[in-house]
Amino acid sequence: MIRLERLHLISRPDKLKPLRRFVRELAKKQSCSDESQECLVMAINEACMNVMQHAYDDERDKEIIIEFWIDKEELLIKIYDFADTVDIALIKSRDLEDVKPGGLGVHIINQVMDSVNYKHIPGEQGNVLEMRKNLNSSDACDISEQYTK
């Protein structure tokens, strides 16, 4: 597995747009399918947004580190925050039948990525989200399939 990039992000909402641009460019360089590219953009945006809003409670000067790793045709994304460790059992998608604003980020991440794992940073304060995505998925965001999951 090769590390492609390590990105330091400040926990400010105005940093999300340049982040999405960066992810699109990186995915293009790796010859990622258009479908996988948009899934990556969506998942990384939602994950960083969750860190800003929930882990850092909207504090604007905290650090987020994003690592991009590649192994053959699979991209591994690691997103580190240095907030208090969270109870991983509490990170889950909510009931979508209950229509209300918010709480959709975890659901979207789970739908568009191939695998999603939350961990604590060993020996340090903080959390890491590891997400994997095949670079060449052609039906990566096939909505009809999502309804059956």
């Binding site: 999300l16 939602e46 209300k100």
Partner: protein, 106 residues
């Protein structure tokens, strides 16, 4: 950013554009709720939206709920492919009334 508002029949139409993310969604929410405070039914034109995340979708859901509480209509128009994908992933595409264009609204 101040989004343009026009009248269509008895509805106000807000035309959103660009990327509606955590940085922009508070502004979108404010403009949607502001229009509903005026007492007019609301159409949200999403045809020029290039990207919308779950915070932007949350602003739309809050608009829908506020409209319902005031017995006003609230619908989406010309939903771009990108926005539709997020609505479908969130299973909200069947919750909102969605029109292809303003021409289809009576």
């Amino acid at each position: 950013m101040k989004y343009p508002v026009v009248q269509h029949l008895s509805n106000s139409v807000i035309s959103l554009s660009g990327e509606i993310d955590l940085n922009e969604s508070p502004n979108v929410r404010k403009q949607i709720l502001g229009q509903l405070q005026n007492g007019s039914s609301l159409l949200i034109d999403l045809s020029a939206v290039e990207y919308i995340d779950s915070s932007g979708v949350a602003s739309l859901v809050e608009g829908l709920q506020t409209a319902r509480s005031k017995k006003l209509d609230f619908a989406l128009v010309g939903v771009s492919d990108s926005a539709m994908q997020v609505l479908q992933l969130s299973r909200l595409d069947t919750v909102f009334t969605i029109y292809e264009s303003l021409a289809g609204i009576e």
